[in-house]
């Protein structure tokens, strides 16, 4: 029923390792992308002309940089950024280099996701905070981010799934994980069941991320519920 290749890959633990590598690369890249993208998103929102501290040139320059990276298809960005990866982590091959690529591609994406989540926060409650003399930093920490939390979590799930997709593409230039297994053992050696196994496993990982994220977002949302008095 299964090809010898699939059985061998499973018995040697290569598929299992692929699952782990995919999860690991996605998680690390998402985390670092948020470390960079979250502050950028906050700055984009705050300095916008509708924001709490409009600064035209910061918003404009940052917006241009973000748009620049976002408009390059990932597969091209990957190749173009090889020297950058080499500069940062010393190698242009393997998972370390892949994480650099994934972060470069994902951080601007995350920044826009964060920006749009923050934009959803009701302008009225921000004005209420301002009218009470609350400082801008406090508004960001105490009002903007907590108010946007459910939306930020949903955004993180979307980003994570996108990064997972990118990580599979990274197989083409030396990344590992389910993507690489699908390409080199499945596609190139004509074992469709290997490819489909990798697809199936990826779908399961995406489902888990999605369900978990939605559950957490719902849990943290104080605006919904049936407890209306």
């Amino acid at each position: 029923m299964f090809s010898d290749m699939l059985v061998k890959l499973w018995e040697n633990g290569i598929i299992q390792r692929g699952i782990w590598e995919t999860i690991y690369m996605t998680a690390i890249s998402t985390f670092i992308a948020y470390v960079i993208g979250l502050p950028l998103g906050v700055i984009l929102n705050v300095t916008d002309k509708e924001g709490i501290y409009p600064v035209y040139w910061i918003n404009r320059i940052l917006g241009l940089i973000v748009n620049f990276f976002r408009s390059i298809p990932f597969i091209i960005l990957m190749v173009a950024m090889l020297p950058v990866a080499k500069f940062i982590v010393g190698v242009s091959l393997g998972n370390k280099a892949m994480i650099v690529m994934l972060v470069i591609a994902a951080a601007p994406y995350v920044a826009r996701m964060v920006e749009s989540s923050l934009k959803e926060v009701d302008a009225g409650v921000i004005e209420a905070a301002q009218s009470m003399g609350t400082g801008n930093m406090q508004i960001v920490w105490k009002v903007l981010l907590p108010e946007a939390r459910p939306s930020l979590i949903i955004g993180a799930v979307i980003s994570m799934v996108t990064i997972l997709g990118y990580s599979a593409m990274a197989a083409t230039i030396g990344g590992t994980g389910l993507g690489q297994i699908a390409v080199s053992y499945g596609h190139q050696r004509f074992n469709p069941d290997v490819t489909w196994t990798c697809v199936f496993l990826t779908v399961i990982i995406v489902q888990v991320i999605q369900e978990l994220g939605t559950w957490i977002a719902h849990k943290t949302d104080r605006r919904i519920g049936t407890g209306r008095a």
Partner: protein, 252 residues
């Protein structure tokens, strides 16, 4: 004459091409309750928002106890803390409990002790009959309860002046009264207030001075009895007439 708290002089406010105020001046004295009435679009809400620097102004000055209220003033934050504002749509923070809503600004912006603020907040909540709601979230409250919470939130900052912007306009009729009674109680305590409202009975009961705003100008001002019984201008008379109805068949 009691001390001047708020002084608006020659206020000019434009929205792009739309002129809201050309040259508006108003002085508010300590302990005074001023009710602002007027047709919709006359600038009532904009006036309150200007007083709190939520709107940019294009000319003139607003001073709170002599200090300019403007975005250029580095002390704007501390001045805003002295101006309490209650909004038509409550604007409570949905992700915070009632108590946290009230405590945020006193603790974070004013730097007061958490325990002290908490005690005061609970005491104020008790006075407006909401002590049991301290740990509820805004979505669990009725409109009237939300608005009373918003009033407590403003009060807890110890403001020198309170601004009420059509605070009952979004409420069901039976909830209007519970909110107005809280405001009436504050007036009796001698708080300085600027109240924008469409509740004419209430305006009459609470006001020391009524201001009739029309097309961005103070069209008429006077005592509540004077204004409501014998409006001096044709414009005000017309406006007040919109609140009374002739009996069915009275014309025949």
């Amino acid at each position: 004459m009691p001390e001047t708290i708020l002084e608006i002089s020659h206020l000019r406010k434009l929205y792009d091409d739309l002129r809201v105020f050309e040259d508006l001046s108003l002085t508010v004295h300590e302990g005074e309750v001023i009710v602002i009435v007027g047709p919709s679009g006359c600038g009532k809400s904009t006036l309150l928002r200007c007083i709190n620097a939520l709107e940019d102004i294009q000319g003139g000055e607003i001073r709170l106890r002599g200090e300019p209220v403007s975005k250029e003033n580095r002390n704007l934050q501390s001045i805003r803390q002295k101006i309490g504002m209650v909004f038509q749509n409550y604007e409570l923070f949905p992700h915070m409990t009632v108590l946290d809503n009230i405590m945020l600004a006193p603790v974070k912006a004013q730097g007061r002790k958490k325990e002290e603020v908490r005690e005061e907040a609970l005491d104020l909540l008790k006075r407006v009959g909401l002590e049991s709601k301290a740990d509820s979230y805004p979505r669990q409250l009725s409109g009237g309860q939300k608005q009373r919470t918003a009033i407590v939130r403003a009060l807890c900052m110890h403001p020198e002046i309170l601004l009420f912007d059509e605070v009952t306009a979004a409420l069901d009729p039976e909830m209007v009264r519970e909110v107005l009674e809280v405001i009436l109680d504050l007036a009796n305590q001698g708080k300085t207030m600027l109240v924008v409202t469409h509740e004419m009975q209430f305006a009459r009961a609470i006001a020391d001075r009524v201001i009739f705003l029309d097309e961005g100008r103070i069209c008429e001002e006077g005592t509540p009895d004077g204004f409501f019984d014998e409006p001096k201008t044709e414009r005000a008379r017309k406006f007040l007439n919109t609140f009374t109805f002739e009996r069915k068949g009275a014309k025949n």
